[in-house]
Subunit: 246 residues, 2 copies
DNA sequence: GACAGATCCGAACGGTCGTACTATTTTTCA
DNA sequence: TGAAAAATAGTACGACCGTTCGGATCTGTC
């Protein structure tokens, strides 16, 4: 990544800068070799720190993993969700979410793709705080999509009886299928197909003259559209990790 | 079988039985903790073998991983593809493929789900023979789906200008979305939503009165429908299955 | 029942893992 | 500027990693 160029104006305390550099590098590493694959020794070597010096920034490796994913979550909100919220309510916002999501997946700062997608399959059977954190973040993300779909219904873009949770799972599937075809199979058409699949999904959600929904009863939960804001840390305790709030 | 020579049922050699037991256990383990997470020591302890004794069955850990995935591929063909081939050509066979695929994903012998799906995200950025093997198997699988869709076109079940590769990627996405919702998010409705998504996909492939295909040019490749039969091992050598000399 | 190979074990190797403890340096701020 | 605080280095630990090797034990065949 680009050198820090931190000449003068070290507003941020030294430790925090190092810490962020560690997390950024750990994150980039994790996208390639997996969350569990990130190693203290490897990190220290890459960043020219001693193992113990690096380790001192986190009480444990598990904490490092969670902080790393917290940074990923923050970045994702910043570069996917927030910009999409600037788009008009309804279908345009939904499209913005989808498009920025795939763009984020291929962001140069994430050489191995979205860490949450990878972690979904890496940690799905390994209980613990890290898994919990991933689940929380992905729940927020899916709620964001479902909420945006719900708004599209309110705006009259989508038909009234649309199952928004179903829409969200379908959407997630398109994204996962895209990553699969793109990263693993190296299919150059993966992106075009993902776009077409999304178009078809939106198209089906629009058409109200369709026989479509076999289930007559739509979900009834209030389901706040602002799920993004409701985002919470995995750790129940106030935490305040090392005193250094931001 | 040829009974003329009447060889007295050559009970499978001892070593091979052990070997299969090792692979079966390694496979079950890998579905939970990942392909790279399987460890010689852990395997030996579980199976009450010595590390070296176990290791002697494979020239390297990499070979163990590949053999393990080969077993998984064989099982998948046996319990998903072959039975589905018994279903009538066209849409029924496609449905059988999908249904058996999800059933296989939740088979009790795979406590952590389909190893190939997990490996898709675990190994997508780690080049090497293991990744190559996974890619090969998944390519065969996707070709199987695309081939079945092509047959459905021939049978008149699906519209003539259907993009079968697109269909396959969409299908893969539904499966991945299912695993994501089911295993990670523990959503009890995951399966029902996957079924609905598949129904919608098939439905869209059927309707020929739809404006549907924006792309006028359908793919033109011959694309043998019998992709299943074309399946090849990753290793270029003939590799007689049970020969297993070293 | 003996012999040959297949099968398995025990010990050991050099590494890396996460983590703990104690110095030593560097930053921060009165 | 100097002392308190924070950041980093050094060293060590036990555990486990994949792998090697020589020898013990078992299996199947004549």
């Amino acid at each position: 990544m680009a050198s820090s160029t931190a000449i003068r104006a070290p507003r941020t305390p030294k430790g925090e800068r190092t810490r962020d550099a560690i997390l950024a590098h750990a994150l980039a590493l994790a996208t390639r070799i997996g969350v569990e694959g990130v190693t203290i020794g490897r990190l220290a070597e890459d960043l020219k720190l001693s193992k113990s010096g690096l380790f001192a920034h986190f009480r444990s490796k598990e904490a490092l993993q969670i902080e790393m994913l917290r940074m990923a979550g923050g970045r994702m909100i910043e570069s996917v969700v927030k910009p999409a919220l600037a788009a008009p309510r309804g279908e345009p916002r939904l499209r913005a979410l989808f498009e920025r999501w795939l763009a984020w997946e291929q962001s140069p700062s994430l050489p191995g793709g979205c860490p949450f997608m990878a972690a979904s399959f890496e940690l799905d059977d390994r209980p613990g705080p890290v898994r919990d954190f991933v689940v929380q973040n992905l729940r927020d993300w899916i709620d964001t999509i479902a909420g945006a779909a719900r708004i599209a219904v309110q705006e009259g873009h989508f038909r009234a009886d649309l199952d928004c949770e179903q829409f969200a799972q379908d959407c997630q599937g398109i994204g996962l299928g895209f990553v699969h075809a793109s990263r693993l199979m190296r299919d150059p058409q993966a992106r075009a197909r993902a776009d077409r699949a999304f178009d078809a999904l939106v198209s089906a959600a629009r058409a109200s003259t369709d026989r479509a929904a076999s289930r007559a009863a739509p979900d009834r939960r209030p389901a706040s559209p602002a799920a993004v804001v409701n985002r919470r840390d995995a750790s129940p305790a106030p935490a305040a990790a090392r005193g250094r709030r931001r």
